[in-house]
Symmetry: C2
Subunit: 195 residues, 2 copies
């Protein structure tokens, strides 16, 4: 029994390896190449751990990190949906549900249900843990864009108003002090490039 269980778990972990080949719109901070969703997941887990003290409401950082480790795995089948210039959210959501069925379905049933619930919680963004996790997921690409002189803001011709709607509202909801720390750099970039 234990060996069957481990076999299923290892099959899931081997499937998860494919997340390293899913490219995102954002580049590395040195602009050398596009970031992939696996290394992005590591980076925002480290962001969440380091910035947890600034969460707007108290969070269980262990749960936040678990959500983050799992949050992009559906992209193996559904692909990345960029914040700016992404596909129709309703169609993407259907693809992601199918992906979750297949990929989490590789696991033993109890673990499948546990991971699925954590992923659904992240997507719904209603609990304090999920709200903070979502805010961190938005902060990291924002910083990559600042570091590379605009990044995907240039590529997708993003306006200050679009950044506010797609990113600002979500970051402030979970981590307002982090947004405050970045606001001057953001305002300067948009004033200079979209003025």
């Amino acid at each position: 029994m234990t060996q069957d269980r481990i076999s299923a778990q290892l099959a899931f972990l081997t499937e998860a390896d494919r997340l390293k080949s899913i490219q995102r719109a954002t580049t590395l901070c040195d602009a050398s190449r596009r970031e992939n969703s696996a290394e992005h997941s590591w980076h925002i887990a480290l962001y969440a751990l380091t910035l947890a003290e600034h969460a707007e409401r108290p969070v269980n950082i262990g749960r936040v990190i678990q959500m983050i480790l799992l949050h992009d795995i559906v992209e193996i089948d559904a692909g990345d949906a960029p914040i700016h210039g992404g596909p129709d959210p309703a169609i993407q959501a259907i693809k992601e549900q199918k992906a979750a069925d297949r990929i989490f379905g590789i696991l033993p049933a109890d673990q499948r249900d546990h991971y699925r619930a954590l992923w659904e919680e992240f997507e719904a963004a209603e609990t304090d843990d999920a709200i903070f996790a979502k805010s961190i997921d938005r902060v990291q690409p924002l910083i990559a864009n600042l570091e590379t002189g605009g990044g995907s803001w240039i590529e997708y011709d993003v306006t200050a108003q679009q950044l506010e709607t797609r990113v600002g509202v979500k970051v402030r909801r979970g981590a307002p002090k982090v947004w405050q720390a970045l606001k001057q750099r953001i305002d300067t970039w948009f004033a200079e490039n979209r003025g």
Copy 2:
């Protein structure tokens, strides 16, 4: 004060981005390219979460995952030391201590000390949490080698005895049931390729 603290934390997180450019000896499971240390860190965090129930002794999975998120950051300065064919361990250890001074030193002092202590605990591999984290760090590249028909075992001409000393002992120490689940595939590969 808070804004200075966040600035230091964001500077550390931006520096950490460079881990995505540190290449490891191991390739992805589809052999398409070498793995980098950032995506490896995500993958073994997911391994640890998924396989924690098979730890030889009870672990605090939150602490294990924190160690894993931090365990390779020193490679930004010191480079990756492959399991097979790596540099002199004593020289590498000095490089890694210097790297830890610089990189964790970007953080506010309390967080610098906390992360440094977690990294030192991982390196020492004496606590139950660190023993399990180390065993998982050895399992993931082993599976990548099995998936790619040999991988770095071929490149570094690894014998069954070397695998036992460098990998087997460490995996069994923290997660013997996981080793048991892989043993037949490993024995078959070495019988067919090193017989």
